[in-house]
């Protein structure tokens, strides 16, 4: 049939974030085969059926069928005993999108009961003294999101659960948190870092963890880009990617953050958006599209940027051809695959390719490099015991490689590994892989001979 007008695909009027019934289709796909048990880190640690994906799906079915109440304490306790690491999805024969099920359930719970229950739940787990340190660190990572109105940034919804949690346990002073005494990344650099003969300009989405906890890694990322003659835009109006609140079902806040970020990066006029964190990159590549699917203005914006978002390693190896590093870095390095980097962004070969190209580095693969480290953002805070069992296993795998450095592509994993490597008595330095490339570039500038 001939037609002169092209019709755009119809937008749904709501997404699974707004209506739990939409995930019924995903639930129906599950055969209860139990393949998820082989890879679920929480099941590996807890060894009970309620820990594993298929049982959460069975419970979701019971909720939709009216046999269980969503806000039954046991139901939400179970829902939050999940790292949203997506490991189960890599081993699922029927390709159930379990992340959607989990996010839809958590959003439905917030719709039903509001957010204060979350505060209660997180607190009940904070009673354990050992949790306090972890709690501070994770809380601090989330703190800017809840408290600090950034210059030029859109206001963050006061409904953010972390505002309530954070203020109640006294996250009011930066000085209590060593990680925050340093100047954040975005205060260290101008909004545009220019180079002499720019061959391209890209926008860098820093994310909160690189901005507040690992600004040096962020600086290294910028340095690597400029060393490749690329102009870097780091808009100060950018906010948190929103994944930390999305996983707690706070859909309104994550949408507000997404809209702000989409508008902010539209204004850069850049062709590519670079991330150095799998969760942030995953938000730009997938979550924003799904969150904004029903939004006629921001839906198309989300799709536009999803196609232009790259992890720094993919950008360096696939979009451009990075300048080969020549400075010698004498280290034995292993690499941990962050869940959101590998399982969401499908990035795993590129960081290894970069590491192996650095002179002096001996690369040693650990066993099960893509097994989750147990961080899961705030999971380490709310489920410290289980998280530690998972993290300890990872630390042992790292130790067995006899590497002196463990490299990672996601700041949340860096925090978790730091804690667990040291608790397991390991001596490995935990670094972002991009810092090793920056180190090589720096050594070459300091006129160190390549070969001795």
């Amino acid at each position: 049939m001939a037609t002169t007008t092209k019709t755009l695909p119809a937008r749904p009027n709501k997404t699974y974030h707004d209506d739990l019934a939409i995930v019924r289709e995903e639930l129906d796909k599950c055969m209860k085969c139990g393949n998820c048990m082989a890879v679920c880190p929480v099941y590996g640690a807890d060894r009970v059926e309620t820990a594993v994906t298929r049982s959460k799906i069975a419970v979701a079915e019971a909720v939709l069928d009216g046999e269980l109440e969503l806000d039954d304490p046991q139901v939400y306790e179970m829902l939050f005993n999940c790292l949203v690491c997506k490991s189960c999805m890599t081993n699922c024969p029927t390709k159930v999108n379990f992340d959607r099920i989990m996010l839809a359930l958590r959003a439905a719970l917030v719709r039903k009961n509001g957010l204060p229950w979350l505060k209660k739940m997180l607190f009940s787990t904070l009673k354990h003294p050992r949790l306090f340190d972890a709690g501070l660190r994770i809380g601090a990572a989330l703190q800017p999101l809840a408290f600090r109105g950034e210059k030029g940034g859109k206001a963050i919804s006061p409904r953010s659960p972390f505002g309530q949690v954070g203020s109640a346990i006294g996250f009011d002073a930066d000085r209590q948190l060593p990680g925050l005494t340093v100047t954040p990344l975005r205060d260290r650099v101008p909004e545009v870092v220019k180079v002499a003969a720019a061959k391209m300009k890209v926008a860098f989405f820093t994310g909160d963890s690189l901005n507040y906890f690992y600004p040096e890694a962020g600086m290294d990322l910028i340095e690597v880009l400029t060393a490749n003659d690329i102009e870097v835009h780091i808009p100060k109006a950018q906010s948190c990617c929103g994944v930390p609140v999305l996983v707690h079902g706070d859909v309104d806040t994550v949408r507000a953050l997404a809209r702000n970020n989409l508008d902010t990066f539209d204004q850069t006029g850049c062709e590519y958006l670079i991330t150095g964190c799998g969760s942030c990159g995953g938000a730009w590549q997938h979550d924003y599209i799904e969150l904004m699917a029903a939004d006629p203005v921001y839906g198309p914006k989300a799709e536009y940027w999803a196609k232009r978002t790259y992890d720094i390693s993919t950008f360096l190896t696939k979009v451009i051809s990075l300048r080969p590093p020549l400075g010698r870095v004498d280290r034995v390095v292993t690499y941990h695959d962050s869940c959101h980097l590998k399982k969401t962004m499908k990035v795993f070969a590129e960081p290894r390719e970069i590491l192996k190209s650095i002179p002096g580095i001996t690369f040693k693969e650990m066993s099960a490099p893509d097994a989750c480290c147990g961080s899961g953002g705030s999971y380490v805070l709310s489920h410290y015991e289980t998280s530690s069992i998972i993290g300890r296993k990872k630390a042992e795998d790292i130790k067995r490689t006899a590497a002196d450095t463990v490299s990672v592509g996601c700041p949340a994993c860096m925090m978790q590994l730091l804690d667990n490597v040291h608790r397991a008595g390991g001596q490995q330095e935990v670094v972002h892989y991009i810092s090793l490339l920056a180190e090589s570039y720096r050594k070459e500038r300091s006129v160190e001979p390549i070969t001795r």
Binding site: N35, R47, E67
Partner: protein, 464 residues
């Protein structure tokens, strides 16, 4: 609902942390991996940590007439672990220790909750393997797979679970604990109890420890694929390989429907006009022997007009396996419910069985693909249907009835590896006759007269 005092007694026996009664806990133990079966939540889930604990629980259950449903990982495919009569689900997920690996005697002693893959990881440094490899090796437990007598892809050459269980410790329905068998290769002391309890599906006793046989890991292997234009060619190739005195470790078949679905699903370049595909893997300790066997297989494939692919690297092997690995996922992607059968026929009737399955699918207007272990005659006719469509489900049930009839008419059996459970109980008389059913019942009742252990499975409950 159980009385509160029973729960308290269970907590006293097993520890509060190992007794689960929350609504969510009960939902989590209300199913296994079998499609098209109603769920049933138990009254309580108990996770024992020792055989003595199991004895105490059995005694408590028997004196209070409470059913016990033993459970490993719950990946079984015939409803064997669903707690039909509520009562106690006895989950062995916490009894997961490998007690002994004895390389000199080629044995391992394990608790029932040890995952098969974990045992293989533990014996690998000794250059040994535990060969039974059901599709769920990465999740299924030793206790569960022994109770179900699981098979797998290597059955033709290496046998199934029953060939690798040398001894056991079992808690009986009367609360007694009995040990038999052990590390000796030869043992004719008393009845062959291992072969009684292997495959008993938890209806005769509760396995609390296993002694497993290990073998040296084969050092060499070759992987080949043959694609055939007709089912007859494929069937003749299977017969030809055996006739050439080659026993492959793996000899898998996929029918036309499965090939087309896998190609649509994974785009791996399979010819969609092919009628059948064989995946063949030969292995052994000597390179010469393995090469000679591979040559012989290639000749047979060529003689039967097959299009041959041979893997020379691990990567190429992986590519050949992609088709077989994707068979179930690809078929499953077609609808929300996967009815996976395991009717098994003598190897010589494989072609007839493939043709019959295709015809049955057409007759009942169902989406049906068949793949499986051609080498040992164990096929998986797989029906994809919509669980919300009652009319279609009734056609599925008729088709399944007919698949079993045909398998039996070919001199085959109801189940090659999934077991009877509840799903196939009604067909049992068709294969065994009344005298066989009577034998089943007398064995069941001599060991478990009160039907405490996994009631409603394998042997129907007596009408009250």
């Amino acid at each position: 609902m159980l009385e509160k005092t029973i729960i308290e007694k269970l907590e006293a026996v097993a520890g509060k942390e190992n007794v689960l009664t929350g609504k969510v806990d009960l939902v989590a133990y209300s199913y296994d991996a079998t499609a098209d079966l109603p769920r049933q939540a138990p009254d309580v889930v108990v996770l024992p940590t020792s055989a003595e604990m199991v004895q105490a629980i059995v005694n408590l259950a028997r004196s209070n007439k409470i059913a016990i449903y033993p459970r490993g990982a719950g990946t079984n495919l015939s409803g064997g672990t669903v707690p039909l009569k509520k009562g106690i689900v006895l989950s062995f997920q916490k009894m997961d220790k490998i007690l002994d690996v004895d390389a000199a005697n080629l044995t391992a002693v394990v608790q029932p909750g040890v995952v098969i893959a974990a045992l293989n990881a533990a014996v690998a440094p000794h250059g040994l393997i535990y060969p039974p490899d059901p599709g769920t090796v990465a999740t299924a437990t030793m206790g569960g797979s022994a109770a179900e007598n699981s098979g797998g892809l290597r059955g033709l050459k290496y046998g199934v679970t029953k060939n690798y269980i040398m001894g056991m410790e079992v808690v009986l329905a009367n609360g007694e604990k009995v040990r038999f068998g052990g590390k000796t290769v030869k043992n004719v002391t008393a009845y062959d109890f291992s072969n009684l309890f292997v495959g008993s599906e938890g209806t005769l006793g509760i396995i609390t420890e296993l002694t497993a046989k290990l073998i040296p890991a084969p050092k060499y292997r070759r992987t080949l694929m043959g694609v055939f234009k007709t089912l007859a060619d494929a069937g003749n190739a299977v017969a030809g390989i055996i006739k050439a005195q080659v026993i492959p470790a793996t000899l898998e078949v996929m029918d036309r429907m499965t090939i087309q679905t896998v190609e649509d699903f994974a785009h791996i370049g399979l010819p969609t006009d092919a009628a059948a595909l064989l995946l063949i893997e030969v292995d052994g300790m000597s390179e010469d022997v393995v090469s000679a066997e591979a040559e012989a297989v290639m000749q047979v494939v060529a003689d039967n007009h097959g299009d041959l692919k041979a893997a020379n690297t691990d990567q190429e092997r992986d590519q050949l396996w992609t088709a077989r690995r994707n068979a179930l996922p690809a078929l499953a992607s077609l609808n929300n419910t996967v009815v996976l059968e395991d009717a098994t026929v003598p190897r010589s009737r494989i072609t007839d069985m493939l043709i019959a399955c295709e015809a049955i699918g057409k007759k009942y207007n169902l989406t049906l693909g068949t793949f499986g272990h051609a080498g040992d005659g164990n096929l998986h006719p797989t029906i994809l249907c919509d669980k919300h469509n009652k009319e279609e489900l009734s056609r599925v049930h008729q088709a399944v009835d007919e698949i079993f009839q045909v398998a039996l008419s070919f001199g085959g059996t109801l189940s090659g590896e999934h077991g009877i459970g509840v799903a196939k109980m009604k067909y049992l008389g068709d294969e065994l006759g009344q005298s066989g059913l009577n034998l089943m019942r007398s064995i069941k009742e001599s060991l478990d007269p009160e039907y405490v252990l996994n009631p409603g499975k394998m042997v129907p409950l007596r009408e009250v």
